[in-house]
Amino acid sequence: MTYHLKSSLAGLAALIAVSVSPLGAQAQEETIKVGILHSLSGTMAISETTLKDVMLMLIEQQNEKGGLLGKKLEAVVVDPASDWPLFAEKARELISVNKVAAVFGCWTSVSRKSVLPVFEELNGLLFYPVQYEGEESQRNVFYTGAAPNQQAIPAVDYLINEEGVERWVLAGTDYVYPRTTNKILEAYLQAKGVAPEDIMINYTPFGHSDWQTIVSDIKGFGSAGKKTAVVSTINGDANVPFYKELGNAGIKAEDIPVVAFSVGEEELAGLDTGPLVGHLAAWNYFQSVDTEINAEFIDSWKAFIKDDKRVTNDPMEAHVIGFNMWVKAVEKAGTTDPDAVIDAIIGVSVPNLSGGYSTMMPNHHITKPVLIGEIQADGQFETVWETPGLVVGDEWSDYLPDSKDLIADWRAPMSCGNFNVATGKCGGKGS
């Protein structure tokens, strides 16, 4: 099967291939199927289509290397159409109808929450590639994106130490990821001695397009004689009008820097970044990272997608890491059986694209470096700071009273996603 067509057409072709696969499978040799569960239509298609393409590329590359356990890999692409209940249905279809060995997918937290019961019930494997709010660890899910301590906390530390920020605007889209992240950050900042009146929290609806009032509020909040910064968990499409308004209102990064957790190279691609130079983003990977393995990845991505202008971003790297970890774990276990893979994958290390190694930890989160980058005029980020070593993903935040006593460890004999160290029991929140 070839994927020379345009991205969406490829998805369509794959869908057709899925519907005729019972006929085709008998004629061909036996394959290992890999499910791809990313929205190819609807609001989230803007971000998720790229991840589908990157998975197809990784599978193609693996097949060129001779496949896995002597068999070829076969991608099974489904389109959950940005519709959260449909994610659960499509996940069920992938596991029980298509019998895939592992699923790579989901973007929003709500879509992940919607498929969790399905993966638990049918004992499937899900690799989730996006930064998220934490407060979760599930036996069947591997979180290859950043937990709050791998993105939000280091970014705030950077602003405190390097920029001397004393006053904070926490601006986000109104849903679970920004709300939880801001709750953690608020607790963290107050623990650092920031007064409650120096923190302003603001939520906006999805796709908010009129930012005049909020930008002028930020300007007003910033004129209290203390260095002010904006921590933005604004999601997706709403970022473009937000940054346009910032640029037009003349808010310069030197005066009020904005650090964003959901703005990557893809989001900046639709923007003139000239007025935004110096605003920040915190990720575990930037396209501009200067390593050989990253240069190779960018070249093969551009060749695969046949477009020189396409960019790479952090969730793509997470899929690269997740896929390689799964391949290694399957080779180690000698089978694709989920229980064997879940046992084998803990401790597996694969190279990440920023020049180090990422390891799967017993809590099903991975180790990553944290990079802080400044937006450049060419739409790329330039790393201005990075953590000296790798940071282990912390699933239960230490700064929330409900979860500070919880840990996750999926190795026997504990095998628990929310073990309470205060009570010594598995299960339940809080002490």
Partner: protein, 538 residues
């Protein structure tokens, strides 16, 4: 002649450059060369300060290039150049004289990294160097930068500059800069009091910021004076913020008006519940994108005209798609609102996915022409140009449409058909043709709305979805079948929304507006400006 002029210039230069500076040349070059060996931001900052300490204005271009990220060093010999990139190549300039040195491939060079705090340092250093620049706008920006970054070390230079300054606006900025620096210095209290009095008259946000910081560490008389000044600034800012809310409301209202005005025709005049209306807006935005792409490739000089060129094209594209939809689907469904709703919703999904297949799911970059970028400052009110032009544009579209409907023969036929279809038909009007034209007009107007909205929103396949609910809200609130109702409805909703937002927040504000509209519709089911007469009852 040219030879003479060159000779004269050279002589002038010899006179202008004092021998001491010429001797410093080597020292400056040496300092600039050190950028190539700086290991971290702290090293780079030390070099910037060293260059600033030289007091030589000629280092300014190199520092400006550094702040803009255009200062590079050659990997082979670590020589520092100012570069200007074009594609894979870069033109090299001498960092001191600014002369063109040559051209080389970009990958041979490494950029000297800067971050925000370094840019701030450079800004302060450059303003110190350019305080005596011959150009008054350069002096002004230097004074403003010094005002923002007060430093007692600047006082001496500022006193000299104030004594020398001839232009009033620059002198005022310099006085303010001195006052702000006095506040952070160890000058006697009476000078500080004078500074507070001077700053108190400015009454802007930046002054407020300075005074708040000052009052937090001041004591006694000084603290009282600062607090008094802060109170008076806050009082004037409160007034401005009311004016600001009105302006933001007008601006939001104009966006709503643009999005809804096409719907006021297809839904308001024809009664078709057109769920694909938002996609017509999206098609207009994508037309703008295509026009800009073509202009970028073939005629970059025309870029500022791109929107003017896109306007008629967007009207034609969206209008013809509208015509196709009317002829192909809607004409079979007149009088069956539920089926129309479902069918047009289906059309909207098809259009979205088609655009996604052709242009990809990611946002497309639509640039702002230069006359739509930036902002103008009216007192404490920041008016961004793109918003201002959209208000003007929305009103212009409204006026043209009003004229077309009330004063042209096609408009007359449209009104005749909507008011009494059978009578109009009996008078010899081809009613199906009028239906098709009306729908195409409504769609075309949505298309040109897309041109304007591409300036403030994402150009993505989802663009239309964000506006469809708001558009229906405006048309229903304003009164179905009445263009004036749409105008008043859009601006009312915009202003109410913007007055609620600071208190209730964006999410709750939107909900409150919806609830108000629901209650209003209970009281007046036909909206603000209801059509009266037999046609309504029919």
């Amino acid at each position: 002649m040219t030879f003479l002029r060159a000779l004269a210039t050279m002589l002038l230069m010899l006179v202008a450059v004092p021998p001491a500076q010429a001797a410093d040349d080597a020292a400056i070059r040496e300092a600039i060369a050190k950028f190539a060996t700086a290991r971290n931001f702290a090293d780079t900052e030390a070099i910037v300060r060293e260059l600033g300490a030289s007091g030589d204005p000629r280092v300014e271009p190199a520092l400006a290039a550094l702040a803009d990220g255009n200062l590079n060093f050659r990997k082979s010999d670590r020589q520092v150049f100012v570069t200007k990139e074009s594609g894979q190549a870069a033109t090299l300039f001498d960092p001191l004289t600014g002369e063109t040195v040559g051209e080389a491939p970009k990958r041979d060079f490494t950029k000297i990294k800067v971050n925000n705090s370094l840019r701030r340092t450079i800004r302060a250093v450059v303003s110190g160097l350019t305080l005596a620049a011959p150009d008054s706008t350069v002096r002004l920006s230097a004074a403003i930068n010094m005002f923002r970054a007060p430093d007692p070390a600047n006082l001496e230079a500022l006193d000299v500059a104030i004594a020398r300054e001839t232009e009033a606006r620059v002198a005022a900025a310099l006085e303010a800069a001195r006052a702000s620096s006095v506040l952070v210095s160890d000058q006697p209290d009476d000078r500080k009091l004078a500074a507070i009095a001077l700053l108190g008259q400015r009454g802007d946000r930046e002054t407020l910021s300075l005074l708040t910081a000052f009052s937090a560490r001041a004591e006694g008389e000084l603290k009282a004076a600062a607090e008094q000044a802060i109170d008076s600034i806050n009082a004037s800012l409160a007034l401005w913020s009311a004016g600001q809310n009105v302006w933001y409301g007008l601006s939001l209202g104009s966006v709503l008006l643009l999005a809804a005005i096409g719907l006021a025709i297809t839904f308001g005049v024809m009664g078709v519940i057109n769920m694909a209306h938002g996609e017509m807006v999206m098609l207009g935005a994508y037309t703008t994108f295509l026009v800009q792409e073509l202009i970028r490739v073939h005629q970059p000089a025309l870029f500022d005209w791109s929107l003017a060129i896109a306007l008629p094209l967007a009207f034609i594209v969206a209008g013809s798609v509208g015509l196709l939809i009317e002829r192909g689907i809607i004409r079979f469904l007149y009088g069956r609102p539920l089926e129309t709703l479902l069918a047009t919703w289906g059309v909207s999904l098809i259009l979205q996915q088609t655009v996604r297949t052709i242009f990809g799911p990611t946002n497309r970059e639509v640039g702002n022409p230069s006359w739509m970028s930036g902002a103008v400052q009216l007192g404490e009110l920041t008016v961004t140009w793109n918003r201002l032009w959209i208000v003007v544009f929305a009103l212009a579209v409204f006026a043209v449409l009003l004229y077309a409907i009330n004063r042209t023969s096609i408009g007359l036929r449209m009104r005749a058909v909507t008011q009494n279809r059978r009578m109009a038909s009996a008078m010899g009007i081809r009613t199906p043709w009028v239906d098709a034209m009306t729908f195409a007009l409504g769609s075309g107007i949505a298309g040109i709305a897309g041109v304007a909205l591409s300036q403030i929103d994402n150009v993505s396949p989802n663009l239309g979805q964000g506006y469809i609910i708001d558009s229906f809200m405006v048309v229903v609130f304003g009164g179905v079948g009445n263009l004036w109702g749409t105008l008043v409805g859009a601006f009312t909703l915009g202003i109410v929304n913007k007055f609620l937002e600071p208190y209730a927040g964006a999410v709750l504000g939107k909900i409150v507006v919806l609830v108000i509209i629901i209650l209003f519709i209970q009281k007046r089911p036909r909206g603000l400006f209801a059509l009266k007469g037999r046609a309504v009852e029919a």
